[in-house]
């Protein structure tokens, strides 16, 4: 399926089934401004909460004096580590991060205390009045000093979060072509628009709490909150408030425990809303990384061996760092065959801001390195960027450097060929003198005589779902009565459109038009996280499975009435039909009248195993692939960049909702473009220097190029409906494609993202 330029995919006005692009069920409310985001929620008598944060990257807390804050009228609660009734530490993989720092602060922005008061301004004054006495310590801000052990441990768990090797084949293998490079990836922010927000309502007996929160995974939040509050999980009831984007930044605990604690302490509802500055301090970011790679190849450019050393800076606390590292080292080879590899990966602790999940999760960093290497390899072998990639493209059945066989459909060569077949944009001359299309835009800074055009390529492989023996599952409930299917699941809808897909699945399987979605809450079993491109596969799999079970029970009911084998029955439109006698039919509405059919099911993907010491093992579940071609104009005098066009072909399995897939592709490309040329959290001595939207630059409509996309639809037999996750691949190889295009335009190497004007102008 080709989606060229701004070609419209017609929305289906009828209730959409799989393969259609029905309207979002929440679309009307969202365009009217009536959709309730978490920050829109309020409750009678609610207080505002706010958090006091460390100004130091590393310091000992000598004393905390909260008494001056109590003198401010309107202050209702002040809490510190002493007020945490349960576990003092939390964390997604290992509990190593304090709810409030109690002895030491390890990053700028670490929570030290929180207050509840009648007005946000009262909160600000109360925070300013709390006196914390610090004794500053020598911060660890250079990740290499954690690797080489030259800095004392800054945390009881040590400075190395994980060290993972991958050793495959012959370490001495080589070839006539050897190319190497060291690549650097800056710290990127997820920059969702809807800031962190929660509303907590305490139970009257003080022994439980209800909270509306914007999160990626309600049940994991609940588990961690319960441990810190020392309450049974069932006394903590979480409902998803409207979520304004996520991209990985809502996987970790931020304000959840603080909001619940303040509500329980005051006996009143409490709202916490972060502002943009606090959001930069309050959630994890994409890991900055330094990656050295050396590729050995035959004279024909076929990869013989890859060596790599990767150092990821995890910041002060572990979050998901160990899983990010596994993704990075296991994706060293990219979507290419490689028989021999020696990879040494580290993710370490530092007094920099904590890093964790962001769309692409470790693969973004590895991909920038391996794709930069592929271009060097192409140059050394005298091949063009397309040919070198086709020559090495992996196929289904190939063995990865981890020893795992790629069982997923792997249309790598097809992604590359179909991308190459997409039309190129108008040339610089044909484009005319529209200033808005030039690097630098209407600033009139660029001049056509300085502009050079370049073309670059990037191709990626991305694992889908959770890895390394994680018990990854999702739960869904379906109730069918009188032709109406009611679905219940805890799958976080963060904007990606799972609620649209879920209804499409139910309509398709059950032959109904009306699907009701229950609130997304902990009232039903866990759905796992909305991350790792996993929800269409996992929660889609759960909804599909439970709808099929309900359908089987419906068929059994009808078959009994008709005295025939239920295997003869099928759904046709809105009817149950005897496939051997099509005259015999009954509407689903009529067949499901009387007692409702109500079932709940869990879906699990196949088991995976942890990597061993040598990085061997079937650690991943499945893979998706994508190719990107970038066309970029560069003002070589000023270092200004305009990305003109991105062409892409993405392996999607089956497009269950083509409009949603296109939305993921275009949105992912915007984020990959951001990393390539503008987005970076600048950290100096542990301090974020640009924690605002004025200084952290995000792509606007003027920065966004035309996107031409082709969907490669080869159903994956492993996937519940043949459909692969589509969220992450779009943002991965577009970054190296853009950088390759800039290199092509300027004629010299670039080894770092984001590319800055001085990298273009001053680095030769």
């Amino acid at each position: 399926m080709s989606l060229v330029g701004t070609a419209t995919i017609a929305p289906s006005m009828r209730p959409g089934r799989l393969g259609d692009s029905p309207l979002r069920p929440d679309g009307g409310a969202k365009v009217q401004g009536s959709f309730a985001f978490t920050s829109d929620l309020n409750a009678e008598g609610a207080l505002w909460g706010a958090t006091l944060r460390s100004p130091h990257p590393y310091a000992r807390i000598v004393a905390i004096d909260v008494s001056p804050a109590w003198k401010i009228a309107g202050v209702e609660a002040i809490i510190t580590a002493d007020d945490v009734p349960g576990q003092l530490l939390y964390g997604l993989i290992s509990a190593d991060q304090p709810v409030f720092a109690h002895d030491v602060v390890r990053y700028v922005g670490e929570p030290v205390a929180a207050v509840a008061a009648d007005h946000p301004e009262t909160c600000r004054r109360a925070l300013a009045a709390i006196v914390v006495t610090y004794e500053t310590l020598d911060p660890l801000v250079d990740a290499e000093r954690a690797v080489d052990g030259s800095h004392p441990a800054i945390h009881p768990d040590g400075n190395v979060i994980r060290h993972q090797r991958v050793d495959c084949g012959d370490p001495d293998a080589t070839g006539p072509i050897v190319v190497e490079g060291t690549y650097e990836i800056g710290m990127q922010d997820q920059a969702f628009l809807g800031l962190e927000a929660a509303l907590a309502l305490p139970d009257h007996d003080g022994g439980g709490v209800e909270m509306y929160v914007a999160t990626q995974w309600l049940h994991e939040d609940r588990k961690q909150i319960a441990a810190c509050l020392d309450l049974p999980e069932e006394r903590i009831r979480l409902t998803l408030g409207g979520v304004g984007g996520a991209f990985g930044a809502r996987e970790d605990i931020s304000l959840q425990v603080h909001t619940c604690l303040l509500a329980l302490k005051t006996g009143r509802p409490v709202r916490i809303h972060y502002d943009r500055h606090e959001s930069f301090l309050g959630h994890v970011h994409r890991h900055p990384a330094t990656i050295w790679m050396r590729h050995h190849a035959t004279a024909d450019g076929e990869i013989v061996k890859i060596e790599s050393r990767m150092v990821f800076d995890g910041g002060a606390y572990a979050s998901t760092s160990s899983a990010v590292l596994v993704n990075a080292v296991t994706h060293t080879q990219g979507p290419y065959r490689c028989a021999n590899a020696v990879v040494d990966g580290w993710v370490v602790r530092s007094n920099n801001p904590p890093c964790g999940a962001m769309r692409g999760f470790g693969v973004v960093q590895a991909c920038f390195a391996h794709e930069s290497q592929m271009d060097k390899l192409a140059a050394a072998a005298g091949l063009d960027p397309v040919e070198i990639r086709l020559r090495n493209a992996m196929v289904t059945g190939d063995r990865l450097i981890t020893g795992q066989i790629v069982e997923s459909v792997a249309p790598v060569a097809r992604c590359i060929r179909e991308t190459a077949a997409l039309p190129m944009p108008a040339s610089l001359d044909e484009q005319g003198d529209d200033l808005m299309r030039m690097p630098g835009g209407a600033g009139r800074t660029a001049d056509v005589s300085h502009i050079r055009r370049g073309v670059g390529w990037g191709v990626a492989i991305k694992n889908l779902m959770y890895s390394e023996a994680f018990d990854d599952y999702s739960t869904a409930r379906c109730r069918l009565a009188d032709g109406v299917a009611t679905l219940e699941f805890a799958t976080s809808e963060v904007g990606q459109g799972f609620i649209t897909i879920a209804a499409q699945i139910a309509r398709t399987v059950l032959g109904v038009d009306d699907v009701v979605l229950e609130p997304i809450s902990t009232n039903v079993g866990s759905a796992g996280s909305t991350s790792a491109s996993r929800q269409t596969w996992m929660s889609g799999g759960a909804v599909d499975a439970v709808c099929r079970k309900v359908r089987d029970l419906l068929f059994a009911r009808v078959a009994e009435q008709w005295s025939l084998d239920p295997l003869r029955l099928v759904i046709d439109g809105n009817e149950v039909v005897d496939s051997l006698d099509a005259r015999r039919r009954v509407t689903v509405a009529e067949a499901s009248s009387g007692s409702p059919i109500d079932e709940t099911m869990e879906y699990r993907h196949r088991p995976t195993v942890p990597l061993d010491e040598r990085g061997q093992g079937d650690c991943h579940t499945a893979f998706a692939f994508v190719a990107h071609r970038a066309v970029v104009d560069v003002d070589v005098e000023l270092g200004l960049i305009k990305v003109v066009q991105i062409a892409t072909a993405q392996d999607v399995g089956v497009a269950l909702n083509p409009l949603s897939v296109l939305g993921q592709i275009e949105g992912g490309i915007a984020q990959g473009l951001g990393l390539a040329v503008m987005e970076e959290i600048v950290v100096r001595d542990g301090l974020i220097r640009n924690a605002s939207f004025t200084d952290y630059l995000l792509p606007t409509m003027l920065d966004m190029p035309d996107v031409i996309a082709t969907l490669i639809e080869e159903p994956d037999p492993q996937a519940p409906m043949g459909a692969k996750g589509v969220g992450e691949p779009p943002c991965i190889s577009v970054t190296p494609a853009i950088v390759a295009a800039i290199r092509d335009a300027i004629g010299h190497d670039l080894t770092r993202v984001p590319v800055r004007p001085f990298d273009i102008v001053l680095t030769k």
Binding site: K30, Q32, G33, L195, T700
Partner: protein, 165 residues
């Protein structure tokens, strides 16, 4: 805090603001005191456009406007952009083209799109991009949003030429 009492005209209705802090922004007062939660706060410094409303017909970031300075002016929020309970043509196009994902930027973008099309009913793509470049969307990559606004421009042009003949 010094308490303030004044009234604002929002979507054609006079709204009493009581006991407001003197420094409260229009965004805060609309959301927290008057219940208009359509305008969103995402940067609080005029960079993202999520809080866009019109004041006397001019598109502004309500996070940068002092609430008390809006007394006597006509404020229109996303809640007042459509006639009656239906959707405006821009709102309809946003839903139909896939311009909405998480939806947090959507109210601001719809205000900006209405404002653009009133000032320039037939924008070129470059003019459209320039006019909406003050509104950040992190989900969509803007492709469907451009599509939605272009669709409205075409439909309005068609209905104008239809009315003329």
């Amino acid at each position: 805090m010094i308490a303030e009492h004044y009234s604002l005209t929002v979507n054609g209705t006079s709204c009493e603001v009581r006991d407001a802090g003197v420094g409260e922004s229009l965004l805060y007062v609309l959301r927290e005191r008057l219940g208009f939660t359509g305008p969103k706060g995402a940067c609080e410094e005029g960079e993202c456009g999520s809080c866009s409303v019109t004041v006397d017909g001019t598109l502004v970031c309500s996070c940068l406007v002092l609430s008390a300075a809006s007394v006597g002016r006509e404020i229109v929020t996303i809640e007042g952009v459509a006639a009656g309970d239906g959707l405006s043509d821009v709102q309809t196009a946003f839903v139909e083209t896939g311009a909405v994902q998480c939806g947090f930027c959507t109210p601001g973008l719809i205000m900006a799109a209405h404002s653009l099309l009133e000032a320039n009913p037939d924008p070129t793509e470059s003019e459209l991009r320039e006019a909406l470049s003050g509104n950040i969307c992190r989900c969509t990559g803007y492709g469907r949003i451009i599509e939605a606004v272009q669709q409205v421009a075409v439909r309005r042009r068609d209905s104008r030429s239809g009315a003329a003949t």
